[in-house]
Symmetry: C2
């Protein structure tokens, strides 16, 4: 039994993996693998339709928004957001809360002017800046809802006078969000929604078509909307596994239910980090992520023996990102609370033997 705390591609529900494995051999009794059927077949079209419907239902997507399943990861969206939304004579506003936010704003500079409204770079991104003004004359305001590397998360979204664009790659479907407050939401699937290879995009239709730049077909949200995510062959398997994961989430009771589970998992783990004399948290209390729990050791020499003990106990993926050090326990939707307790047990056992 492995406890998968990896930061992503991350843990998926066991029953999803079982169904996905079966579909690779025989998809829905067709006698063919899901990997070798046409994306234009009625069987695959039903998968895509259900995936779109589940996103709308689970996330409460209102009328006037389109749901897309695209390729290229959030990093491609870093470019597509300004490609589609930022006039070449305009500017875009960015909140810099980590390396990924920084990569996003760098891509925007290819298309127009960028204003960084606030940054926590000087503290190595251990908190979310809150004291800033969103420029009303910018084309959009870009935020990163959860910062995987540092373990910070926007617990409240800013009220924005301009379209709010949000990279939700590492916390989508982990908590209730009012989609109507956003102009564009995008997320690589490989944390909470499915495997690597597909990216969810939720876009408010009325914010599109306002730049006069010519946009190649594959980079044009309007073309992708018209094509129903099938302007060209979509990543069928990754969409199918995402659909299964969304089905699993619905069967669990939806986003509200998983949000409570995530709060509990985060709370018991942060409590242990606070309580355990060997460990300490990294981030500002009010900005701590419910998805990626970062912590370090008071005595860095104990890091290696702790990782060794974790490995022996089947706890994988908790080594921290090199830019933060220490540890990072990613506790995505599919991670059961029993795995969190398994980690806490190891932390306590290790503290006992290192008094």
């Amino acid at each position: 039994m492995k406890h998968n705390f990896g930061a992503g591609p991350g843990i998926l529900p066991h029953e999803v993996l079982k169904q996905a494995s079966e579909a690779v051999i025989d998809f829905n009794g067709t006698g063919l693998s899901l990997l070798e059927i046409s994306h234009r077949s009625k069987e695959f079209e039903a998968v895509l339709d259900e995936a779109v419907l589940l996103v709308k239902e689970l996330f409460g997507v209102p009328e006037g928004y389109s749901v897309l399943f695209l390729q290229g990861g959030a990093s491609t969206q870093f470019a597509l957001a300004p490609y589609n939304l930022l006039p070449s004579t305009g500017k875009a506003a960015y909140l810099e809360t980590g390396v990924w936010a920084n990569k996003a704003l760098k891509e925007a500079k290819f298309f127009g002017e960028v204003e960084i409204v606030a940054s926590s770079k000087e503290s190595n991104f251990t908190y979310i800046p809150k004291d800033y003004t969103i420029p009303a004359d910018a084309a959009y305001f870009h935020i990163t809802s959860n910062n995987t590397i540092y373990g910070t998360q926007l617990q409240e979204f800013p009220k924005s006078p301009i379209p709010l664009v949000c990279d939700m790659s590492s916390d989508i479907f982990s908590r209730k969000v009012n989609v109507a407050d956003f102009g564009l939401i995008y997320a690589g699937a490989q944390k909470n929604m499915g495997p690597a290879g597909v990216t969810l995009v939720i876009v408010k239709d009325e914010i599109l078509g306002k730049v006069d730049r010519k946009i190649p077909a594959m980079f044009n949200y309007q073309v992708q909307i018209e094509g129903g995510s099938m302007y060209n062959t979509p990543p069928c398997f990754a969409i199918y596994v995402s659909m299964l994961t969304l089905r699993w989430l619905k069967a669990k009771g939806g986003v509200e239910v998983i949000e409570q589970e995530n709060i509990t998992k985060a709370r018991v783990l942060y409590d242990e980090i606070e309580r355990n004399p060997l460990f300490k948290p990294v981030c500002a209390t009010e900005d701590r992520s419910h998805m990626n729990v970062t912590f370090v050791m008071e005595n860095a020499e104990l890091e290696k023996p702790f990782l060794k003990l974790c490995d022996e106990r089947g706890i994988v993926g908790i080594k921290g990102h090199r830019s933060v050090g220490g540890f990072r326990a990613s506790i995505y939707n599919a991670l059961p609370i029993t795995s969190v307790y398994a980690l806490i047990d190891v932390m306590q056992e290790f503290a006992e033997s290192n008094k």
Copy 2:
């Protein structure tokens, strides 16, 4: 038993599907699914490294070329080729041999001037134009090696004084190619190489870096080369299945062996189409594809009953594309010759009962 003649996503070898199915549950004895391990893990890095090596070995990729596994399909490469290779004051030359070639050249127009050196559009693309001059002052010459919809294929590649760019989506790894004759080769995986969701790019390093346009990271071949196809999270599963398919091809004896099999499969099928009084071929004899065999009926009223009989005999995916009509039997690498004989049997049975 199904005989899968689908045009793509197309048939994959049974043993590949079996291994892929197992890896979705437990990848190489890690106790974790391939879908939930880090792309930076040594286990996945070994997969990507092997996939790159197999491409180089099986396709004879010389020194000075980079092999990439990207996302977005060939349609994304339609834009990335000119993005990276066509100066805004320059022009690119295109051979128009079908709808996909046409889509490719339309994307190039976003970036510079386009010269169509020849086209078979007036005959609905039933042949490959051969009498043309490649302009020596163009940045590159773009061709489509196999035209899936129409069933035509370049049996010989043109000698080009400028970098030759080729969309090989529907015949890559089906025949020996002298890679040194090309500047850029790209191919969506979902015909001969793997599942939908990954695109192979083989690019000659020295043709890059010659446009002064600024290119967003994800669209920049040089950035992807520096990142070793891992500038961001790659489509891990699609790469894994492609690697397994390339391993299968190597075990069979490589491209030379499969090329002979493909010639045989195509020959027996075209022979039957020529011989059978109910059917006739669509394309010019010398340009007939060894991958997608198109044919129509002398009497179009028999089309539906023939498709019905095919369906009863487990023959799937042979309905022709709407722009050609009739039938299209895609006989990709993984399709066994026994399936071709199964189709021929049905053609003969149908002809017997419709004398």
